[in-house]
């Protein structure tokens, strides 16, 4: 399982989760390897489209405030 960027291994998945502060029970990284490889493969495919002439649309820039969530 690999993308063009990095080979996705259980160790990579555990490090990514750890960097995000997510607790992974033992063995879960093995379950996530094919999923992570798949989504990152798709993300790499999007690099085929030249988007450098475009800004993100201004209308979409607002995240919700916490008081709207909790």
């Amino acid at each position: 399982m690999e993308s063009k960027r990095v080979k996705i291994t259980p160790e990579v998945v555990r490090n990514l989760a750890s960097a995000a502060g997510l607790p992974l029970p033992a063995g879960r990284e093995n379950e996530l390897v094919p999923l992570v490889a798949s989504i990152l493969k798709d993300a790499v495919k999007l690099e085929e489209v030249d988007v450098t002439a475009h800004e993100p649309p201004a209308a979409f820039r607002y995240p919700p405030r916490n008081r709207d969530i909790r």
């Binding site: 999923l35 495919k45 489209v49 979409f60 607002y62």
Partner: protein, 465 residues
Amino acid sequence: MTADELCFLSIRELGAKYRAREASPAEAVRIIFDRIDRFEKPLNSWISVRREEALTEARAAEKELRAGQDRGPLHGVPVSVKDNMDTAGLQTTCASRILRNRVPSRDATVVRRLRHAGAVLLGKTNLLEFAYGIVHPDYGQCNNPWDPSRTAGGSSSGAASSVAAGMGYAALGTDTGGSIRIPASYCGIVGYKPTYGLVSRAGVFPLSWSLDHVGPLTRTVEDTATVLQEIAGSDPDDPTAVNGPIPDPRKVIEGTLRGARVGVIKELMGDDLRPGVRAAFERALRVFRTGGTTVWEVSVPSILYSDQALLPVIGPEATAVHESWLRTRPEDYAPMTRAQLELGAMYAATDYVRAQRFRSKLMAECETALEQVEVLIAPTVAWVAPKEDPAVAGQEGVIEARRTAPFNLTGMPAITVPCGTAEDELPIGLQIAGRWLEDERVLQVAYAFERAAEWTVSVPRGVRS
């Protein structure tokens, strides 16, 4: 008129009966709860119902109407909202264990507007957990009134199932990659995703804030316009809500196929379409042409890259919303919901930025296509209702949303209307999308198609008496 026939009237027809004193809101509420009692077990459309409260509100509406205090077309009309929309004093679970006991102190803006218009809230409808594509086992799958062994579709599953089954005249749903239009297509009803920001999302639990939309599911296009008129408009509680033109239902029903110009997006006519869906779509094209519409083939060259652009947006945004619970209560999510939220933490920030930039490129390409035509059309989904909902982050989930997600990425208005049946005689939808804030034109074309095609569905076979 039988009780079942009353359940399947349009909102306008029901309102006429109220005002002619041939039916009453309390009567409508009672027969709908009878229907819920008959069909809830196989369908599982509801998370909570408000039997006593709805009946009390219906009696009050009846009293007001008889006293001449008419609040408009939704006065006394029984409706529902998806259980990710806040309702003061009534639990709002998002079909999750995380929020099982949460009771909001105030209504979402759209709920407040429905109440202000006099609508009677029947209850809260089932959904995929946090609208993120997976059933939580505590709540179970919501099933399809056309074949209860199949899903109603997600994530606004209960909204689509209940309206198709005659358990309410309208429902509100949310749509982040197709979650209104996909279940509406599977259940053979109308589902509308307005222009981004035309309807406030304040008090609606976010999935992915830059893609989320709120909109109605109904049995007719006119009913959709009627509901939209009451819930749309700017809102100080939602900074993305716009003060755009709100479609006028009286103008919507002036829509005609004659002289309209529609464009078939050629990139969305690929091999993933099931033969029955393709055949039904071709029949729809004949309806347009026979009605005097010019049908063009148009190209949106990058639209198939939407498959790769949606998840790098939903993933990080959803995970940002759930970050705290994901660290402290991960075991409370359904396994695949948890996995999808974990995946959201594993994108590079540059993937997110690239996907956001892609959205502008896609919008520009759609605008170019719309220089030639007024609206863009495609089958809503490549297939009929499956047995279960596919995961958003899987290949089938990507294909399921292939024709709906582009219009979440662009924010353009898009509707699905019934388009006959395909494999296993199950309903499918035709999607019609238009320019930003030209919601009225989209609804006009949809209305004209609905009238010409005469495929507004009858009572689904799974809920016939």
